[in-house]
């Protein structure tokens, strides 16, 4: 199955800002978010996009 334009995961340090139900990774700090996003980007073959300072999403293009 080929996925396109799909949000694979969301990374946040502000749990109120992401929808409930997706693959949400809640982090404690900005540094941890960067690290988790980089790891997920590599694992999922997606791109980490920054929506705001508190939310990253990993999207498969």
């Amino acid at each position: 199955m080929i996925l396109e334009k799909v949000i694979l995961a969301a990374i946040t340090n502000s749990v109120n800002k992401v929808p409930v139900g997706g693959n949400v990774f809640v982090c404690d700090s900005k540094e941890e978010m960067d690290k988790v996003a980089a790891e997920l980007e590599a694992i999922l073959d997606g791109i980490a996009h920054k929506l705001s300072n508190d939310v990253y999403i990993i999207v498969k293009h």
Partner: protein, 296 residues
């Protein structure tokens, strides 16, 4: 041996030699496969033989024999299909794919070159049989020059100007000049892109060119040629490092973003200006007749 043998052999040799000349392995790295070359040489030989046989068959009043040319047409259409299929299959394994338009362009060229060979050997045998060997040599050279003219298409440098432009980030948005490319979230990636990336702005010289460079196939061809010549700083599974071209909707300029292995700005500009203008990307909206809309 009859009176046609020498002229036919001569024309076939000239035709085949011209096909060999048309093989030019350049930066596109195609065709570099020895077996691929043999296939095309053999087809070139067949094309040359077909072209050479036309005049003798007319001279011996075998008019129906000319119908074998229709066979040639279907034969060489097959060449186009073969090239398209091979290149499309290989394209999935490229780090920066050629794109369907570029592949179609290459496939059409392969078919077209066989017809050029038919033309060259036809003209050669015509001159040989109606005049003499010296006339046929002159005819061969002339038709060769005509073929050469039709063999090379237009280049991007003719319809657009290319300027180097710095990459910049505004928040998470990557920009080339003022053209938005994409959103890169991770600061580490942003740094990597600023260190290794190159940005170019291609401005169309006129309205027709604006449509041509906006074509997605043409844009992919630019990226592929850049990646082939300068190398590309990416691997599978790093979609954030994929080279991209985006368009400025207001004035039709396009912003090129690429991460080359060899970060040579002048060379990159030269390569972009040498990218072929794809036949199927060329648009000429300014050729529209004013009355056109009434007639449709």
């Amino acid at each position: 041996m009859n009176e046609f043998t020498i002229p036919i052999v001569f024309s076939v040799v000239i035709g085949t030699l011209s096909r060999i000349y048309m093989f030019r392995t350049d930066y596109r790295q195609y065709p570099t496969y020895p077996h691929g070359m043999i296939i095309h040489l053999a087809l070139g030989f067949i094309a040359a033989a077909l072209g050479a046989l036309v005049v003798p068959s007319i001279m011996s009043e075998e008019f129906t024999a000319v119908t074998f040319l229709t066979l040639a047409a279907s034969q060489f259409r097959e060449v186009r299909n073969m090239e398209r299929k091979t290149l499309t299959e290989m394209d999935t394994l490229e780090l920066v794919p050629r794109g369907a338009s570029y592949i179609e362009g290459i496939a059409v060229t392969f078919e077209g070159r066989n017809y050029l060979v038919i033309f060259i050997s036809f003209v050669t045998s015509l001159a040989y049989l109606s005049l003499n060997i010296w006339a046929s040599l002159v005819a061969a050279v002339l038709s060769f020059l005509v073929a050469k003219k039709y063999m090379t298409g237009s280049k991007l440098g003719k319809i657009a100007t290319i300027e180097h432009s710095e990459l910049s980030f505004e928040g998470a948005g990557l920009y080339v000049d003022n053209i938005y490319i994409m959103n890169i979230g991770i600061p580490e990636r942003q740094e990597e892109i600023l260190n290794h990336g190159l940005g170019f702005v291609i401005s169309p010289k006129n309205f027709d060119a604006r449509m041509t460079i906006g074509n997605l196939g043409q844009r992919q061809a630019i990226l592929h040629d850049l990646a082939i010549s300068l190398g590309v700083y990416r691997d599978s599974g790093t979609p954030a490092l994929v080279p991209l071209i985006k368009r400025d909707l207001d004035d039709g300029r396009i912003g090129v973003f690429i991460l080359p292995q060899n970060k040579n700005v002048d060379l990159a500009k030269k390569i972009i200006s040498q990218v072929p203008t794809l036949e199927n990307a060329i648009r000429m909206p300014t050729e529209t007749k004013e009355k056109g809309s009434d007639q449709s």
